[in-house]
């Protein structure tokens, strides 16, 4: 459950499968950005390392497209996913 001191992080499609994770709830101690969060997650190693480079990762913050320098606030929902391919 997201509140003012946590972030909800969601993964979709190939990323969801490779990270074997669809949702994480993380404490938000200090101001950060979507890009910094990606770097932090990449340090978990294994399949998480791909978040630091390689295949492109798209970012949404509160269900709107965002960029690596988009600031994150407590309670935000952040999502990481591959380029979209619907239709």
């Amino acid at each position: 459950m997201a509140d003012d001191t946590t972030l909800t992080v969601r993964f979709f499609a190939r990323l969801r499968e490779e990270l074997q994770t669809d949702t994480l709830t993380l404490p938000l101690d200090t101001p950060t950005t979507a890009g910094q969060l990606l770097s932090t997650l990449a340090q978990k190693g294994g399949p998480w390392a791909q978040l630091a480079g390689g295949q492109p990762v798209m970012i949404a913050v509160n269900q709107a497209m965002a960029k690596p320098d988009t600031p994150l606030n407590g309670g935000d929902e952040v999502a990481f996913f591959p380029p979209v391919t619907g239709g």
């Binding site: 969601r10 497209m65 591959p82 391919t85 239709g87």
Partner: protein
């Protein structure tokens, strides 16, 4: 401007969608529709089905935004988007876009714009299934180029 967006597992009925679009007043002179179907070749050959995933909540917001953008650029009297998710078989319907306008140029342009923009900005992901094989489809440069052409 009247619009509606659905993301659903179940199939849609183009006949019903068309009837609803027709019911858009005597100022409508043109209805353009697009339907996407599961084809037998994509990144893989011999495709037997697809699995479609989306980002509930964000998808509806993005598609609603695309319809709103289309209606600032063209005469749009009614617009409808239906997109399926989950497991689909060969020849199944995937997506429907329908637009009513006073004139045909606006109906065609708004319908094609919504479809092209949806392909590159709505959070849907497609996995091709071919027998035992599975393959997440990559974004196509041609799709990005078609979306940029509207800018």
């Amino acid at each position: 401007m009247n619009y509606s967006v659905s993301v659903q597992h179940q199939d849609f009925d183009v006949a019903e969608e068309y009837q609803a679009l027709r019911d858009s007043g005597a100022g409508t002179g043109a209805i353009a529709t697009f339907t996407g179907l599961v084809r037998d070749s994509g990144d893989l050959q011999g495709v037997t089905g697809l699995f479609l995933e989306h980002y509930p909540g964000m998808t509806e917001q993005v598609v609603t935004g695309l319809i709103a953008e289309a209606s600032t650029r063209w005469d749009v009297r009614k617009a409808r988007v239906v997109h399926r998710v989950g497991r689909l078989a060969l020849c199944d319907q995937i997506v429907f876009v329908g637009v009513c306008s006073a004139h045909r140029g606006d109906a065609f342009a708004a319908c094609a714009f919504i479809m092209d923009a949806l392909k590159t900005s709505a959070p849907f992901w497609k996995k091709e299934l071919s027998g035992e094989e599975e393959h997440w489809v990559g974004q196509r440069d041609s799709d990005l180029a078609r979306h940029r052409d509207w800018e």
